[in-house]
């Protein structure tokens, strides 16, 4: 049911964007680059990718509490500081080898689109089941951020998440967050900029943010 919306969305975003860049290129002193990065949100169905997409871009794609809500790709622009980053929301996928048609859609995106980065969104409660996809994304040579979402629900169940050892073991950035409660979204944005090398390492990054 997102399809209609999404096609409309995508279309209007593209339109808006070219219009926007033209405007900004003309009238802005500091020119904004057209698109500073292209990132995709991937992960198992129903882990909060679409909620995160809505948070990052301000566009609305349908969010529902069951797997299979999103059946098509939607695109939006996230403005993080002065950067414009294209964010792509995908249908769920369990592994790089697809089973159903929606999974195929996500996999094709990974195969064919040139992405600067993927954010692998996982459910903190089911981390063990979802990490295999993180490995596969890393093996594929993609730049990966692991976003451990739904931390609020994990805490309610009495689970404690300590991501430091995981960061070291995997060698990729790990962000603990709750997209629905807007927890950790700022850290995620910062990590995105760092990884796209728009920002120096964490310590000085804070100074940047304050300025």
């Amino acid at each position: 049911m997102n399809c209609h919306q999404c096609q409309k969305n995508c279309y209007s975003i593209k339109q808006k964007h070219s219009w926007w860049t033209r405007l900004t290129k003309k009238y802005r002193k500091e020119p904004l680059l057209a698109i500073d990065g292209n990132i995709a949100l991937v992960g198992t169905p129903n882990v909060g990718k679409s909620v995160l997409f809505n948070r990052l871009t301000g566009n609305y794609v349908t969010v529902s509490n069951y797997p299979g809500t999103t059946v098509e790709v939607s695109r939006g622009i996230a403005k993080i500081k002065d950067y414009q980053i294209r964010v792509i929301d995908t249908p769920g996928m369990y592994s790089l080898v697809p089973i159903s048609e929606e999974e195929q859609v996500s996999r094709d995106l990974l195969l064919e689109e040139s992405l600067d980065m993927v954010i692998h969104v996982v459910d903190a409660k089911n981390l063990g089941r979802m990490l295999p996809l993180t490995f596969q994304l890393m093996e594929a040579g993609l730049t990966v951020i692991l976003a451990i979402n739904m931390i609020d629900e994990a805490e309610q169940l009495g689970l404690k998440v300590e991501p430091d050892a995981l960061k070291i073991e995997l060698g990729i950035p790990v962000v603990v967050m709750s997209a629905a409660l807007n927890r950790g979204v700022r850290e995620l944005k910062q990590t995105i900029l760092q990884l796209l090398s728009f920002q120096p390492e964490p310590d000085s990054a804070n100074v940047e943010m304050v300025r």
């Binding site: 592994s95 089911n126 089941r129």
Partner: protein, 71 residues
């Protein structure tokens, strides 16, 4: 080794084997975290099988459930 249709409801079981010729069924089960060595709890059999693997809950029909064997 026991078929899922025989085991007691509500007890922790360890998955021993997935017996199916159908590679996609195996992939589906693996996607849900049901793999040899993982533990699961059978919660009900009717109208559909419901199993809990860690904090994941999944509904399975009889045919898929029949491919799961536990210790």
């Amino acid at each position: 080794m026991n078929a899922l249709s025989k085991v007691q409801i509500g007890q922790v079981q360890t998955v021993a084997q997935l017996q199916t010729q159908d590679i996609t069924i195996r992939r589906k089960l693996m996607a849900l975290g049901i793999t040899p060595g993982s533990s699961l709890v059978l919660e009900q059999r009717f109208p559909s099988y419901v199993v809990k693997v860690g904090y994941t809950r999944a509904a399975l029909d009889r045919e898929i459930a029949a491919s799961i064997f536990v210790r």
